[in-house]
């Protein structure tokens, strides 16, 4: 009974492609992650809890998560706007804007980190302007927020753009011909159509921001309990050769990542089931 594990196929290369795929996946990704989980299992949930349940760790996890959430929310709104502008409007410079959206993917995080710090430090270009009104950005949570917005910027735009392209003109016309104002059409027809893709992009931006290190540490200030992010705490523990503590925090972060990955998949399944597309 049951389906065969692998269907017979006339295609060549089954052994080779499966071999390369599974070997490399195991060696590069699965075994190392397994090593972390094994380490966690060796001192059990109670042991992990003991390490994680300290003010400094909670503060770092909370900081990473809540600033990532705020940054992802900003990117949700701005990303929707960008996707709409880039697909629907024709104006000089559109191609350049479109390409610029990907810069946070292409620019190394350390480069972004020192550059943002140079701009927002009290003597930097934007930092000076902010200082005039008594607003300190670099070395505060504002700085971390800006760095996280930077790294998460492309996700929502890039997931929403293809969906905006596929909206049929007739659907918008139908809404208008039924008497709906443009604003009503946007709220009740267009945004609901975009929301599965936008939510996926939001979750991706959130996952990226929670784990982000390179672009944040320069601008963060890294003051324990105030501007210390969770990934930095892992590095600090490693530099003190405190592998157990590093692993415990690492597992906590890994579990957060898994939860978000699950959320992304559920969003897509839900959307496909309900309206037949993602």
């Amino acid at each position: 009974m049951g389906k065969p594990l692998i269907h017979r196929s006339p295609m060549p290369g089954l052994g080779l492609s499966m071999g390369i795929t599974l070997t490399m996946l195991s060696l590069v990704v699965l075994l190392p992650i397994g090593a972390l989980l094994l380490k966690g299992a060796s001192y059990g949930l109670a042991g992990i809890w003991e390490t994680v349940n300290r003010d400094r760790v909670w503060a770092a996890l909370f900081l990473s998560f809540h600033l990532s959430l705020l940054a992802a929310l900003f990117n949700l709104v701005f990303g929707l706007l960008l996707a709409w502008v880039l697909v629907r409007y024709r104006f000089p410079g559109r191609r350049i804007l479109d390409a610029a959206v990907d810069l946070p993917f292409a620019l190394p995080t350390a480069v972004a980190g020192i550059s943002l710090t140079a701009l927002y430090a009290p003597n930097g270009f934007f930092g000076q302007i902010a200082a005039e009104i008594g607003w300190k950005i670099a070395y505060t949570q504002w700085g971390i927020f800006i760095a996280l917005v930077f790294v998460g910027l492309p996700f929502v735009t890039r997931t929403v753009q293809p969906v905006v392209e596929e909206i049929e003109r007739e659907v918008e016309e139908a809404s208008a011909s039924l008497g709906a104002s443009r604003l009503h059409t946007i709220r009740h027809v267009i945004l609901p159509m975009l929301s599965p893709a936008a939510l996926t992009g939001f979750a991706l931006a959130l996952a990226r921001a929670v784990g982000e290190y390179g672009s944040v540490i320069f601008i963060a200030g890294n003051i324990p309990l105030v501007t210390e992010i969770a990934p930095l705490l892992i590095i600090i523990q490693l530099e003190e050769f405190n592998y157990d503590a590093a692993a415990a925090i690492g597992i906590a972060m890994l579990l957060i990542s898994f939860a978000m990955l699950l959320a992304i998949n559920l969003i897509q399944v839900w959307s496909r089931r309900r309206i037949g597309y993602v």
């Binding site: 208008a176 008497g179 009740h188």
Partner: protein
């Protein structure tokens, strides 16, 4: 409602989709705009619906100039070729959409909306599908839901773009009768676009044959069949 098309023309860039055309549609008539693709019939329908603005000329509804009336204010029940149902809404919400979109002052109560929607579902003979999503309907059911959605706003006329174009031959025959019945029940002036001369001849009271942005002939089906005004019409209706 009586519809008067007065010297309407439409340019897209340098190409003329419609040369000035004039046409008078009596109140309550069931009218077919018949022609091959590129004849300007859909452009004319979209101008009536307020989805395109004519390059010149006027549209009059019951003697009132309606040329500049926005699509929202026009209350033309428009049924699109692809039906353009809202995929993320149930059939019920699709039909109720136009009523829910009204400003609060003129919006019916929830109970009233529910009552009207179920009446419309009965009219299209699909009383039990309110909770379904469009992706769960057959092509013929979608077409009827699109019709019900257009009727929900109590339109002043009914405009249909190739209403049977996406359906197979058997369903097409059934739905023709369905449209005829709905027209007779509501008494609305109804204009539909088609490239199928048999469909136009069988269903319409008045057939407008179009070609290359011009009107070739206007008349009752039997008159057009008996006395084609131009060689184009003769060829097209015997094809």
């Amino acid at each position: 409602m009586q519809i008067e098309i007065d010297e309407i023309s439409k340019q897209f860039g340098t190409t003329a989709a419609l040369h000035p055309v004039s046409l008078s549609l009596p109140s309550g008539a069931l009218v077919a705009l018949l022609g091959p693709s590129g004849s300007g019939k859909t452009t004319l329908l979209r101008i009536l619906g307020g989805l395109e603005f004519p390059t010149s000329g006027r549209v009059m509804f019951d003697g009132q100039d309606a040329t500049g009336l926005s699509v929202q204010d026009r209350r033309a029940g428009f049924v699109f070729q692809s039906y353009a149902l809202f995929r993320h809404m149930t059939v019920f919400d699709n039909i109720a959409y136009g009523l829910n979109a009204r400003p609060r002052a003129s919006r019916p109560t929830k109970a009233e909306i529910a009552r009207r929607v179920s009446k419309l579902l009965e009219l299209i003979q699909l009383p039990d599908i309110g909770a379904r999503y469009p992706s769960q309907l057959s092509g013929g059911q979608r077409q009827r839901v699109a019709l019900a959605r257009a009727l929900a706003i109590e339109p002043r006329m009914l405009l249909l773009d190739e209403p049977f174009g996406a359906l197979d031959a058997k369903v097409r025959k059934e739905l023709r009768q369905g449209l005829r019945d709905i027209h007779d029940t509501t008494g609305l002036t109804t204009v539909f676009v088609t490239h199928d001369q048999e469909e136009a001849m069988e269903l319409a009271d008045l057939v407008v044959v179009m070609s290359m942005g011009r009107i070739e002939q206007i008349g009752k089906p039997q008159d057009i069949r008996a006395r084609p005004a131009t060689p184009f019409v003769r060829e097209f209706i015997t094809a």
